[in-house]
Symmetry: C2
Subunit: 333 residues, 2 copies
């Protein structure tokens, strides 16, 4: 298939753009592109802008079902309000949520979605299979994860005991899903919902199987207080102790980082999923993206679940990232 008469933004190292470009697609992959007239006539895009597909590096598709709740709450209050609702999802709901959420993301230019899924109520069916089915039907690349929570309220965690799993189940399920989805990401939820033991075992399993690792980190001041109280250190120091600061790991949010934390991310190759709208919506703050980039940290963009964003629009998130950065450092990034 040939597409012509488009404003082509290649995003190559030279930043090449063609005001009147064309591209040739073969087997779903761009095989050739150029300026002016294509080798043969193709579909006229009438000057539309064409960019590489956008990649959403942090999302929770199931949250598509629970928008506009706890609208004036901070992270912990929002989570505590929603946990009991999320405890009722099943595979049919997950399928519906993924269909809607992925379609919205695709409409905003997103072609690859990493879905951080960490809510697995007992008897809910195969939630990962449900969302992968939706993605196949829509033609969106979905990178699945096996998330987890094993630190319930009665052990000092945030989620209700009814919503946490035991570590053995988590690891066995991760192993099973990894054999079906080689791109699976091992993704325990956060310092306040997962034990240090499961964090360590998750990393071990991931490295044994050659999988990557993901978690929420340093999202709010409350999380930092929680870590200081329970673990006697900052969230990043805590992650370091667990063997989680490495180039096979990326963390969502990273709003509250010290200069030492940022340097540590850079030295270890640990990546960051920047979710500006969600961070504002929950009053978490603004991640220090300029400083992260200056420290050579890999930074991607995430919409985050639409329950904490209210929209599933990755292109709007590109703009939001630019706007919040300018609030901090002015127009010249």
């Amino acid at each position: 298939m040939i597409l012509e008469n488009c404003w082509l933004v290649t995003m190559d190292d030279g930043g090449s753009e063609y005001a009147r470009g064309w591209l040739q697609v073969e087997n779903g992959v761009i095989a050739a592109l150029g300026a002016g007239n294509p080798p043969e006539r193709g579909e006229d895009l009438h000057g539309a802008v064409v960019t590489p597909g956008l990649i959403n590096t942090h999302h929770h598709l199931y949250q598509t079902l629970t928008r506009a709740r706890a609208a004036d709450a901070d992270l912990f209050t929002w989570l505590k309000t929603l946990y009991p609702v999320w405890a009722r999802i099943d595979d049919q709901m997950e399928y519906a949520a993924a269909r809607c959420g992925l379609a919205e993301l695709a409409l905003s230019g997103c072609t690859t979605v990493f879905d951080h899924h960490y809510v697995f109520p007992r008897g809910a069916g195969d939630l990962i299979e449900a969302e992968m089915t939706a993605a196949r039907e829509l033609g969106v690349r979905l990178v699945p994860s096996r998330g987890s929570m094993d630190l319930g309220e009665s052990d000092g965690g945030l989620p209700p005991d009814s919503l946490v799993e035991d570590a053995d189940t988590v690891l066995a399920e991760t192993d099973r899903l990894a054999s079906r989805y080689p791109e699976l990401v091992v993704a325990p939820c956060s310092p306040f919902s997962v034990t240090g033991e499961l964090m360590r075992e998750s990393a071990e399993l991931a490295r044994k199987l050659g999988l990557t690792l993901h978690t929420h980190l340093a999202e709010t001041v409350e999380e930092e207080e929680y870590c200081r109280e329970l673990y006697g250190c900052t969230p990043v120091e805590y992650l370091g102790r667990l063997g989680w600061l490495d180039d096979d790991v990326w963390c969502a949010h990273c709003v509250h980082l010290s200069d030492a934390d940022i340097a540590r991310f850079g030295e270890t190759g640990t990546g960051v999923a920047h979710c500006p709208s969600s961070n504002l919506r929950l009053g978490a703050g603004v991640a220090p993206v300029r400083q992260l980039l200056d420290a050579s940290v890999r930074v991607g963009l995430g919409v985050d679940g639409t329950a904490s964003n209210e929209r599933g629009d990755l292109f709007l998130e590109v703009k939001q990232a630019l706007l919040v950065a300018r609030a901090a450092v002015g127009p010249r990034l």
Copy 2:
């Protein structure tokens, strides 16, 4: 006309909302509303949310023609890049810009637009008449202004000399337009493009004719430096000297205000048009809206020209105002 089966957000003092409401429109005005079934059957809105029309308190419709220029510039650089482009507008362009800009705003729920127009190239035709024609055709309420610039580069101002007018022309034109449009706002552009003399004479004329006053104020640190250098005071102090702090005045932006400035706005009844996206886009900062509201200042929302916003969406601006406020003070506003 009766509309039924809508989620009705009345915005009355009690914050009444009806999950299944109806409203009756007579001669373009809401005559009655209620919950449940209307007095007679009407058009089914299928659960759509209905709110009062949103009011855009600061816009520049002509800028619809010049989006995505000087995309990485601060305010002064952006203005200097665009002045020569704006110097070429005429009444036909203004009509086209207003048609497009007003339609976009209407699609975002906006029914009333205040247009701050301050660029009047010689021989451009009747620009205010052009935009009022567009507004009549589209059914949007447009509150016009007679803006002005009389402080050119050679006198220490920012705009090129070719784009400024003499004060007599400005005042005569304001007088002429006021007799045609009783809702006209007298709106000299800014401290760095208008002489103190024209600011004073504008206020005198407005008060003689019973018109309100509007200007840009305290948008950037550069503006504050400019005022300190030329006038030996902050922008707000400068406005106070000119007799412009009063309840017939509202100012756009007001990002850089001291505690004393905020108190002064509250005491005098001076209003503020808050334009969060534009302020971020130009790296100006975030206006202290929480503090302004605490000081009983009247605060409205503005999209600002789409050349510094890139979108003409007032509903998105409602969300942006919430998000930037949370960045500053957390989720509980």
